[in-house]
């Protein structure tokens, strides 16, 4: 069953010479040459040992790194209905620019992806427009209304990766239980946005000292962690499989840890912004730092990093959420929730976690690719015979995240203005060249 869709690209034939090849999952950590022939990793050898075929591009990889391509199980591509924020072309261009070779779009569009007709139109659009392969989640409940189930079997047969009401929680435990029961029939992970609206209310940021000072209604950590615990218990009871989206609080990490220890089939993700920023950063009320769940405290951030390190949190997902300028150029409480993330994820995490010694590079790149596992997609690998899904990165390159100039159609990036290290130079996705950095010259052998 095909669940990833992209526009046809010519299979690449490229020799990358003398790069550091790093793919911890495949046990690869060496310097060498890597030859992609007709879109497939054909040979890996000592530096200088491989000859470029006559029709090959030759890339100088010295001082640079090649990673297995990243996979993001959680992005908002805004199609259908909000193409002024993003579309499949701009969204996947942003993904490719960030080193991603596959992304999974969320169904909270307008209309919601809750029928095979809408899913089919998305699939067709992706076959025309997507620069990197895209998969689509379908809604758990029609219209994300929280009542009743979508036609999960038919949606799966039409290519749905899994199901989520992301953007909203499944408030009714009874409905989630039914979805877990139905999962036995149709398969597909249930990805959960964990939030108890009776606790989060009209909150616009983390509830704590900063929200008290600013007078902004808070979103307490327990609004997330109680739902994580509830839904892990439901999944355990039904023998189902759930994926906890964008964890933000230490209490949620503990709940996932406990569920995993109890043998529940639960996975979890954390986003680059929750791993690098905290509520103190929101003091200036920059609306680009308004997201749901909100940025929490240093204690929470530290717990998330530790969970990424130990694997309690399985993967990193950007929750790439583009918004139009008019949705963010308003007072903080009125601003839309969300930040773009695909183009800055690696550099932000490398700069703020790897360089200060909080996380090692191998773990970071593994967690950036591991999103594939939680949504049942093949994990990209630097291995002979595998399709070329990889990115070439210059770790030394320093760049400033701009106010504008993104591949994404939107500019609401929480890292805007920051000086970051690590630049993606080239991305190969499904065997084709999906992205080349403008300034990055490629010689033809």
């Amino acid at each position: 069953m095909r669940r990833l869709f992209s526009a046809p690209t010519p299979p690449a034939t490229i020799l990358i010479r003398g790069a550091r090849l790093l793919d911890p999952r495949s046990g690869v950590d060496r310097e060498g040459d890597l030859l992609v022939r007709a879109g497939v990793i054909a040979e890996i050898g000592e530096t200088g040992s491989l000859e470029a075929p006559a029709d090959a591009e030759s890339v100088d990889g010295s001082g640079r790194h090649v990673f297995a391509g990243f996979v993001d199980p959680h992005v908002h591509l805004r199609v259908p209905g909000q193409e002024h924020k993003e579309d499949l072309h701009t969204g996947t261009r942003a993904a490719a620019a960030g080193g991603y070779c596959a992304v999974v779009g969320m169904p909270n569009t307008d209309p919601v992806v809750d029928s095979t007709a809408i899913l089919g139109s998305l699939r067709d659009a992706a076959l025309r427009e997507a620069r990197v392969p895209v998969g689509f989640m379908a809604a758990i409940s029609p219209g994300l209304a929280g009542h009743g189930l979508t036609e999960m079997v038919e949606l799966r047969e039409a290519g749905a990766i899994g199901f989520t009401d992301d953007g909203r929680p499944v408030v009714s435990a009874g409905l989630l239980r039914r979805a877990l029961q139905y999962q036995r029939l149709c398969g597909g992970v249930l990805a959960l946005h964990e939030e108890d609206p009776s606790l989060s209310g009209a909150g616009a940021m983390h509830e704590g000292a900063v929200s008290a000072l600013l007078g902004i209604a808070g979103i307490p950590s327990v609004s997330e962690s109680t739902m994580v615990a509830r839904d892990a218990a439901l999944a355990g009871h039904e023998g189902g499989r759930v994926h906890m989206q964008h964890l933000s609080a230490i209490e949620s990490v503990r709940a996932v840890e406990a569920a995993k220890a109890a043998g529940v089939a639960v996975t979890a993700e954390a986003s680059p912004h929750h791993l690098t920023l905290i509520d103190e950063d929101v003091r200036g009320l920059d609306t680009r730092l308004k997201m749901n769940p909100p940025l929490r405290t240093e204690v929470d951030r530290t717990a998330l990093i530790e969970a990424i390190r130990t694997g309690v949190i399985d993967c990193i997902a950007t929750d790439h959420a583009p918004h139009a300028r008019e949705d963010k150029d308003v007072p903080f409480e009125q601003a839309a929730m969300g930040t773009t993330g695909l183009e800055t994820a690696f550099a932000a995490l490398y700069t703020h976690l790897v360089l200060p010694g909080l996380l090692d590079l191998a773990t970071l790149v593994e967690r950036l690719a591991a999103g594939a596992l939680v949504v049942d997609l093949p994990v990209p690998a630097i291995s002979v015979g595998e399709p070329a899904n990889l990115c070439l990165v210059d770790l030394a390159a320093e760049w400033q995240v701009g106010e504008a100039g993104y591949e994404s159609r939107s500019e609401n990036c929480c890292f805007a203005g920051r000086q970051l290290r690590g630049r993606v130079l080239m991305t190969l996705a499904a065997g084709g060249v999906a992205y080349r950095e403008r300034a990055f010259a490629i010689g033809v052998a």
Binding site: P220, P331, F332
Partner: protein, 318 residues
């Protein structure tokens, strides 16, 4: 001081200089002709996105006493109701080339955000549940005139702290001036983490007798509907300041308008210990001082810088 966005941004010295200036204007207010020509030819725009009687009228009167022109712009019945964004409204008003913009908004940070869009002096007349700096300044003015310096004084702020911009600004202002501030109210209406502002938190009035000043907050009826407290009756029995709770050595303040019979009993509201009327009177002279501090010396009346994007020179403090 080019803008007045919050008490948080002020230090003790700036607050005291504002108080000194307000005291000078208070002398003017005692004269037969209460108007001075200080801001003649300047334009002050009042932009109010929320209903307000006393704040708006006292800003208007303050500007007029300083001989400034005043333009009142209320959100109701305006282009705002037709869906105009705050940013566009500011650009529109900027075309009148105002010198100061007084803004009241239901949203936290609105005044600060506006100040990033315009070079005009911005004065925060209340931004959602964040701050109401001129209220805190007039409260400080009123209180110091009655009891002298605040150093070491114990001030209890009682009631709905969670939804109160007055409480936030006053906690900051009183502590900056050396007072010990205690906030007290139902646990549902005390925001977690408020002690980070430098105040103590209590949930009952047992130790209220140790207070020199009791500052009661307005208890809005809608809070009952939102389940913050079970009933008016229970709130009254736990937190109302009445004759049995107000000791003779204490003074009583309230930002108004008072819900008689809820947060205050009528007898204490009308007692000589209550500074409520004095607070309203102080509103005009303190706002005169604020307008004077942000505008005097900023630029001449003929300066005519456009609003959008032009940062005017920082005002010299008097």
């Amino acid at each position: 001081m080019h803008n007045l966005l919050s008490i948080e941004q002020l230090d003790r010295d700036q607050i005291e200089r504002l108080m000194d200036q307000a005291a000078r204007f208070a002398e003017v207010s005692d004269r037969e002709i209460k108007k001075v020509p200080t801001l003649r030819g300047r334009l002050v725009v009042n932009l109010f996105y929320e209903a307000s009687t006393r704040t708006r009228s006292s800003f208007e009167l303050a500007a007029k006493r300083l001989s400034a022109d005043v333009l009142n712009f209320a959100a109701s019945g305006s282009s705002v109701e037709k869906g105009e964004s705050l940013k566009d409204t500011i650009a529109t008003l900027g075309s009148y080339e105002p010198d100061a913009l007084v803004i009241r908004s239901p949203h936290v940070g609105a005044a600060a955000l506006v100040s990033t869009w315009t070079g005009v002096s911005v004065i925060n007349a209340g931004d959602g549940t964040h701050e109401h700096p001129t209220q805190a300044l007039l409260d400080v003015f009123t209180l110091t005139r009655r009891i002298g310096r605040l150093d070491g004084k114990s001030i209890w702020i009682v009631g709905d702290v969670l939804h109160s911009r007055v409480a936030r600004s006053n906690i900051l202002a009183f502590t900056k001036l050396g007072a010990r501030v205690t906030v007290c109210g139902p646990p549902t209406l005390i925001p977690p983490g408020i002690d980070a502002l430098g105040c103590e938190v209590r949930y009952d009035l047992r130790d209220l007798g140790g207070a020199d000043v009791i500052y009661a907050l307005r208890m809005q009826n809608e809070r009952m509907r939102e389940d913050y407290v079970p009933s008016v009756h229970e709130y009254v029995s736990c937190y109302q300041i009445n004759a049995g709770r107000l000791a003779s050595h204490q003074v009583l303040m309230h930002p108004g308008p008072v819900n008689r019979g809820v947060e205050l009993s009528s007898d204490v509201a009308d007692s000589p210990q209550a500074l409520i009327t004095a607070q309203v009177q102080a509103g005009v002279v303190v706002r005169m001082a604020v307008l004077y501090m942000v505008l005097a010396g900023a630029r001449g009346p003929a300066g005519g810088a456009t609003a959008a994007g032009t940062a005017s020179a920082t005002a010299q403090l008097a």
